[in-house]
């Protein structure tokens, strides 16, 4: 079963990271899910695939009452991001899913009705959670053609979806990046292959360089914090992307 760990807490404003499932079958990619709660309201970020729903749901229950989750944020349309939607809808049919307008007609194949989806326009939008407002930051073509990150200006945390992801070897279970040089080796091939556009990459790097970020939280692998955030952005900026390793 996964575990839910608090990565940020300031009064009733919290970020939980739901990570590392020792029981996950080897054929499924490991994913991180995040919950942002403010007072009595909460948003679940990239809730994961239907195969890992039991693990995510149980881990979440141990730390938070999931009846308070009113919204889901899906960075893009992939099955490891949002195919558990039908289960979340089963649990709470009133839950709303924020996703790029591009996918609003595709993702209902995983579940939900016409009332479930709140399309995010290309330039992004604010998503209210309790008294706070989180910002959907455009990250199109990184890797999906309709792709968003989510920024919490109060907590200074950027949920970066697949950007910053690393496919870590078994046993490498640390929550945070402790040794950047050793870690980034496991991120390189993924970014070269999955991030398809050099221009989109440059735009993203310029966009997030202006944000005040203490933690950069990807959907796979460890979290970058402190100086490692800037280091990652610089590393990504100079990486040759959109290439198949021959």
């Amino acid at each position: 079963m996964k575990t839910a760990q608090v990565i940020y807490e300031n009064g009733d404003h919290r970020w939980l990271a739901i990570v590392r499932d020792p029981d996950r079958p080897g054929y499924l990619i490991d994913t991180n899910e995040y919950l942002v709660s403010v007072g009595e309201d909460a948003i679940l970020l990239d809730p994961g695939g239907s195969e890992i729903f039991p693990s995510v749901f149980s881990a979440l229950c141990a730390e938070y009452d999931p009846r308070r989750i009113s919204k889901i944020f899906a960075s893009h349309q992939d099955p490891d991001i949002i195919s558990s939607l039908s289960m979340w809808m089963e649990f709470n049919p009133d839950i709303k899913c924020h996703i790029s307008w591009l996918w609003a007609g595709f993702v209902p194949h995983f579940g939900g009705t016409g009332d479930t989806f709140i399309p995010i326009p290309d330039p992004g939008t604010d998503i209210p959670v309790g008294r706070e407002r989180l910002r959907a930051i455009p990250a199109h073509y990184l890797h999906s053609s309709g792709n968003f990150n989510l920024y919490d200006p109060k907590a200074k945390i950027l949920f970066s979806g697949d950007i910053g992801a690393a496919l870590l070897p078994p046993g490498d279970n640390g929550l945070f990046v402790e040794n950047f040089d050793r870690h980034i080796v496991h991120a390189e091939a993924f970014h070269r292959r999955w991030m398809g556009s050099e221009r989109a990459k440059r735009d993203w790097c310029a966009r997030v360089a202006d944000l005040d970020i203490d933690m950069l939280c990807p959907q796979h692998g460890a979290i970058y914090r402190g100086a490692e955030v800037r280091r990652f952005i610089d590393w990504f900026a100079q990486l040759d992307v959109g290439a198949v390793k021959s």
Partner: protein, 199 residues
């Protein structure tokens, strides 16, 4: 699982059970700390509080056992979520196949009907049986926990009696044992809620 409750209701029920588990775990943690303080107090009271000291140690063990028992319950609810998830997937598939059947005729329809009959007598029923078995185990574990908590109540009452022999520390020991009694009563209430959510 009753048909009326549905799988969503089943998940919400599991959440309510988990909320009570969290509440009991927090209270068990409190008892553990209280018992530690009680052991120190009994040490200071010396010979007059020997019995009280033994009971405080037992109450500490009780708190640890209770925390372990709650972990067992939590693992059980995880198993229940997995079974409910499997049931939802089967239900969805059955609905799709059912729609196919209504749109087909002749041999194709007969084939789908055979498939449906087979599925309904295998995976769907198996998932329902798995949930029923897990619910029975959960009931048994809640009943076992209720017995454990009863033991905690007996220990707290005995501590109250021992406090009377605590000489000059009697009033302080009495206060501590009353606190034990009230805190264990909180657990009783949580367990009653747990049983109600489970039924």
């Amino acid at each position: 699982m009753t048909q009326a409750a549905g799988t969503g209701g089943e998940l919400r029920r599991i959440v309510r059970i988990n909320e009570e588990i969290k509440s009991v775990v927090a209270t068990a943690f409190k008892i553990n700390l209280m018992a530690m303080n009680a052991i120190f107090l009994a040490k200071r009271a010396g010979q007059a509080a020997l019995g009280f000291s033994v009971l405080s140690n037992e109450l500490r063990r009780f708190a640890t056992d209770l925390q372990q028992q709650m972990e067992v319950l939590r693992q059980m609810t995880h198993g229940s979520v997995a079974s409910v998830t499997a049931l939802v997937k089967t239900e969805r598939l059955n609905r799709v196949v059912d729609r196919m059947r209504s749109e087909l005729s002749g041999q194709a329809r007969a084939m789908i009907e055979r498939y449906l009959r087979n599925r309904q007598t295998t995976s769907f029923v198996l998932h329902q049986e798995a949930i029923a078995t897990q619910n029975r185990r959960l009931s048994q574990t809640i009943a076992d926990t209720a017995q454990l908590v009863e033991l905690g109540s007996v220990l707290a009452r005995s501590a109250k009696i021992e406090a009377a022999y605590g000489g000059s520390f009697s009033a302080a020991l009495m206060q501590v044992s009353s606190d034990f009694e009230h805190t264990i009563a909180e657990i009783h209430r949580s367990l009653e809620q747990l049983s109600r959510h489970h039924d």
